[in-house]
């Protein structure tokens, strides 16, 4: 999976920030209702993109939220509603909870949380956050939809189980049922690998071999570095009998790309690299997505990422609620989003809705190759009594979530 990239400095980033900065205080006519939304993130330092071919992603997630506000305000011109974005970008290691409390003190009720799992739970558990609506637009951890679920959190980013199931359905459609699983040593590598194990059980695939790839993040390969890797990968991947695909879990994107074309046996690589299950991809042009891609690229000067898309969906969900109910208060908006009437259009061919048992947005999963879309799950033939989207991830009977208010 392409990891989100953040470039701190650079003229381009500054220019973009300046260009996209909220408009200076304007007189809002008395009959226009203002809906403030807060965005909070911890700006974690990340390595440069793995490949020269990848784009740097300045303001990952934030750009999606900002475009969402613009789109909301286009609708708002007609419905007399104005949306604003209050941005709290906390430096790495900074006090996210303090920044969150600051936003609460300003009266914010709607939050776009672009945070890792630990920080997300920390803010959701702040006692004053009980009557707020927090959208998780980054963390894929399955636990957040299970034992660590929270009543005040909705997830637009899909969790690992949804992505693993989306991939597994396609692999089974192809009859590539024997998997060689390669897992990195990072924490998220292990989380995705656990979801892949669950998916294999669910969809009757067999993990014939599992190996750990011990790689540490470092400089990109230096000149003629390919010579070393060409020898290392075959040795690493030899002696695996009878597999159809190599499934890799390398969330940090530090070694997975090396596997394709170098393994001992000739088999496709899928997972976090190769054929990737994802919620958004730059090649996605179906169901009117071309227009979204054009609008975003023009707005942000770069391709839309998973986090941008998830943040955009969160902001759009709020507008969908205020437009349909013609109300802007937290209680009405929160109730409507969680009601059966709610649906948000996300360029995936059907309306997207939140699961009432764990707050996860149910959605199709894109299966993307490096340059094109290969397929979309759920695959034809996987049936469900309520929604075929519920064949992906944690269905109602599977859930370990007991929705509760934050701990006092």
């Amino acid at each position: 999976m392409r990891r989100p990239q953040v470039r701190c400095a650079g003229l381009l980033a500054i220019a973009l920030l300046a260009a996209a900065a909220p408009a200076a205080a304007q007189d809002t006519p008395a009959d226009v209702a203002t809906i403030p939304i807060a965005y909070i993130t911890e700006r974690v330092k990340e390595l440069p993109p793995f490949s020269l071919v990848d784009q740097p992603t300045a303001d990952n997630g934030l750009m999606g939220a900002r475009l969402g506000i613009e789109d909301n305000n286009t609708t708002g011109k007609f419905t007399k509603q104005k949306f604003t974005l209050d941005e709290a970008v906390v430096p790495e290691g900074g006090d996210v909870v303090a920044a969150f409390r600051g936003l609460l003190a300003k009266g914010h009720k709607f939050f776009v949380a672009d945070l890792r799992a630990a920080q997300l739970l920390a803010i959701a558990d702040v006692p004053e956050a009980k009557d707020t609506l927090i959208f998780n637009v980054q963390a894929k951890d399955d636990a957040l939809r299970g034992e660590q679920c929270r009543a005040n959190v909705l997830h637009t980013m899909p969790n690992y189980a949804i992505l693993a199931d989306g991939l597994a359905q396609y692999l089974m459609w192809k009859r590539w049922a024997n998997w060689f699983l390669v897992v990195g040593t990072g924490d998220h590598d292990k989380l995705f690998a656990a979801a892949l194990h669950r998916a294999a059980d669910r969809f009757s695939a067999t993990i014939v071999e599992e190996r750990v790839f011990d790689a540490t993040p470092g400089a990109r390969r230096t000149d003629t570095g390919y010579a070393q890797i060409q020898k290392q990968i075959p040795v690493f991947s030899q002696d695996v009998s009878n597999y159809d695909v190599l499934v890799v879990s390398d969330e940090r994107d530090i070694f997975g790309e090396y596997l394709q074309y170098r393994t001992w046996d000739a088999h496709p690589v899928v997972g976090t690299q190769g054929l990737v299950p994802t919620t958004w991809h730059r090649s996605q042009e179906q169901w009117g997505a071309t227009q979204m891609q054009n609008r975003f690229t023009k707005f942000a000067g770069r391709w839309m990422t998973e986090r941008d898309y998830s943040a955009w969906l969160a902001v759009r969900s709020i507008s969908e609620a205020t437009t349909r109910t013609n109300k802007t208060d937290y209680a009405s908006v929160n109730a409507y989003i969680r009601s059966p009437e709610f649906g948000v259009a996300g360029f995936k061919g059907q309306k997207l809705t939140f699961r009432d048992w764990d707050g996860q947005l149910r959605q199709p999963v894109l299966l993307a190759g490096p340059r094109t879309l290969v397929s979309v799950s759920p695959q034809e033939g996987y049936l469900h009594e309520f929604s075929e989207l519920d064949t992906l991830g944690f269905d109602r009977p599977d859930t370990t979530c007991k929705l509760k208010a934050p701990a006092q």
Binding site: D71, T74, T75, F78, T79, Q291, N294, A345, Q350, K351
Partner: protein
Amino acid sequence: MKVGVTVAAVVLIAVGGVRSAAAETIYVTNEKDNTVTVVDGATLEVTRTIPVGQRPRGITLSKDGKRLFICASDDNEIQVFDIAKQEIVGTLPSGPDPEQFILAPAGNPLYIANENDNMVTVVDVDTGEKVTEIPVGVEPEGMGISPDGKTLVNTSETTNMAHFIDTESHEVIDNVLVDSRPRFAEFTADGKQLWVTSEIGGSVNVIDTATRKVIKKIGFAVPGMNAEAIQPVGVRVTRDGKLAFVAMGPANRVAVIDAHTFEVKDYLLVGQRVWQMAFNADESRLYTTNGNSNDISVIDVASLDVIKSVTVGNQPWGVAVAP
């Protein structure tokens, strides 16, 4: 002389013969191929394939029936096709990414939805000049015009609204919220109703044009079919106001609706991902474009039978019928 009289009589019959509905020609834009397929209405065979601009989508006949206007979306222009010459003879400015458009009943101007730009562009087809641009909602597509030419309606896919625009002042005078992702807007011939399809909402919203309120939401159900697959796009209402036809996208069917009672009478199975439709001049036939099966279907309106499918180019999008 006897022979001469017979010959003359034969010639007279040939020239003065009744023009049957099947003498028409059907033009289909192929979004993926960058071509227009020409189908003969009598034989229902493809007669020609014409290269046009990039990503051709909307196609419409000029009022005098002599030209076709084609949206070349990725070329950001409208192409003008001369039917007698059977070739592109010029272009019109359109604003960026034109998808759908509609001609004023008088034949001029042309109102164009710029999908990328949140605008409707108004173009004079005789001078080739842009008259003005009207800001609308996000991702405008559907365009409808009242029979008296005074009210233009544009639907915005992401804003979920039908914008009513006064064609003299070019001002938006009203905005009606409809169900999710509206794609198409069609006035009835008497101007009293506006039918708007909602692709993600899965419904048709019927709006009373006098009050500008939604008076009816029509839903659809096909036995054994997932509700999510029912995605209405194109809609056409007969001139006599009796029947409405709705293209339902990946449901692969055209819904037939009693336009007085709003009841769905039937679902006609056509090709895959049916989006747009066009009647012929006397409304005896309805042609549909089936984007994912690369064909068009021919519906006999009197019997409500799908009589034939004709293979055209890749990803057929729009269709226009020249008499």
